[in-house]
């Protein structure tokens, strides 16, 4: 298997596009490892002491410290670099996809699928998604240009790999999916779910991984964009994974009560809202059979554990990486929300990231080992 092209739907990069995309990966890494540490030093060694000297106290709210940072040319430059790198990434992948859009669109037409695709022409995209282009991805998850469009799916498939710097399982981008199953095995052992639902599947990066452990199960996956799902369907079919994709909101699906054994999501909750997230948890409760499992994987950070720079960095995610619920997700009391929805044995902790889930592993801890080494798991039983 060509690691750069693990499935036939993945858009191909020519010589120069690959060079460009590898440069962008290295540039993002450079910004994160060489430029960003200087921002923490700038804040702690210069800005905070200066504020303390002038006003006699250190501001309690990080937003006030951020306003001081915004006056520093080095911080202004970092802000420009981070968002420019992201824009360059989407531009590079977007152009690459556009070059081969005809071939990709043809290749996405699947005859005799083992899974299925259900698009809803009347679907209303939730406002918490449509208000801004999440991750600065032009067009956003729901971009759909025609009845057979798959463009944004192709852009997201390749773009997300670069965004994760290849650290989520290279071009399959599925370590998070394997990690969800690792958590499932740890909590529920060898009990096999008969019917699985992945909420906010995008192009099925995690879905295909999850389904691979339970080939007897019927796996469903939902998201908000028709083109996104059409690409997901084609990708899964070409990976020989029979998954049923449908265009639905996780807050309110059309599935029957108590019709699933396992419901999960992979880094989705932080892209919803303060109102939507509890609704999604309640919907999980409605959809699960008694004894069924809910597992939500999230970014392994809690706001209260972050220092001032960490919080300012989080503001970037909200304001300019267009993830409006970032702060809400990092402060939410998931335990209370899950228990109020009726879940028992609610667990919150950090699962070791893994490319292969195995029964009998001990990989769920109180503390995070860092992004890509741990993922926050929010799980409960109906």
């Amino acid at each position: 298997m060509n690691p750069h092209r693990p499935h036939p739907m993945m858009p191909e990069a020519n010589h120069d596009e690959l060079a460009e995309q590898m440069f962008i990966v290295d540039m993002k890494t450079f910004i994160g490892t060489k430029i960003e540490p200087g921002q923490r030093l700038l804040l702690n060694d210069k800005v905070i002491p200066e504020v303390e000297k002038t006003t006699g106290q250190i501001p309690e709210k990080h937003q006030d410290l951020r306003k001081e940072m915004e006056r520093e040319p080095a911080y202004q430059a970092w802000l420009t670099m981070v968002s420019t790198a992201q824009d360059m990434m989407w531009d590079s992948v977007g152009t690459c996809v556009q070059r081969q859009i005809g071939d990709l669109t043809e290749r996405a037409k699947i005859e005799n699928p083992r899974g299925s695709l259900a698009v809803d022409p009347d679907f209303e995209v939730p406002r918490y998604i449509s208000a801004q282009d999440i991750h600065r991805m032009p067009g956003n998850y729901h971009s759909t240009l025609s009845v057979d469009d798959i463009r944004i799916g192709a852009v997201f498939d390749r773009g997300a790999v670069i965004y994760q710097l290849g650290r989520n399982g290279g071009f399959m981008n599925d370590i998070r999916g394997h990690t969800i199953v690792s958590h499932y095995f740890e909590r529920f052992g060898e009990t096999k779910p008969a019917r699985i639902l992945d909420m906010g599947c995008t192009v099925g990066h995690s879905t295909v991984a999850i389904a691979s452990y339970f080939p007897e199960a019927e796996t469903h996956a939902i998201d908000v964009g028709a083109a996104l799902l059409r690409y997901a369907h084609a990708r899964a079919e070409r990976l020989d994974a029979p998954i049923h994709f449908s265009q639905q909101s996780a807050e309110q699906t059309n599935f029957d009560d108590e019709s699933f054994d396992l419901i999960c999501s992979s880094a989705v909750l932080h892209e919803t809202s303060g109102q939507a997230m509890p609704n999604i948890i309640k919907e999980c409760h409605r959809l699960l059979r008694p004894g069924g499992a809910m597992i939500h994987l999230e970014v392994p950070a809690r706001l209260e554990e972050l220092d001032a720079w960490g919080k300012i960095r989080g503001d970037y995610e909200i304001q300019y990486n267009y993830e409006p619920f970032w702060k809400g997700a990092l402060t939410a009391d998931y335990r209370v929300i899950c228990e109020r929805a009726g879940f028992a044995n609610v667990m919150l902790g950090y699962q070791d990231a893994t490319a292969k889930a195995e029964v009998g592993k001990n990989a769920f801890f109180d503390k995070s080992k860092g992004v890509h080494r741990s993922w926050l798991m929010i799980s409960g039983v109906k």
Binding site: H15, A19, M27, T80, S83, T84, R99, D133, P138
Partner: protein
Amino acid sequence: MSFAAPSKQGQTEKVWYPKGKKFPYHDGPTNDQLLSMVMALTAEVSILRERLDTNERVAEQHELYKQTEIETYDPDQGAMAERAGLRRRILHKVFRVLQERPAAPDAPQRDANPEDGDTA
């Protein structure tokens, strides 16, 4: 020859911008945009360098020449003179704007380097 011939490349280039609040320019747009342009330019240089690297490796595979011959290549006088011209050209082009000399408000613009030709 038509200067306006459409390029194949142009047909695949589109510009997409994300929908969302733009952060405020700090000292006016120039510095922020300049930094973004430098980043894009650096990407272009990196791509060019990589293509050159591929060229050398493929040439070596075809036994046209070895990569080590790049290191040991000894340009003759003619080649050295042409290369000096290339270096002067790139310096002139890239730093052209810095060669403009501030003049008294009413004085006509004068080229600071008269031997490059009278452009006043």
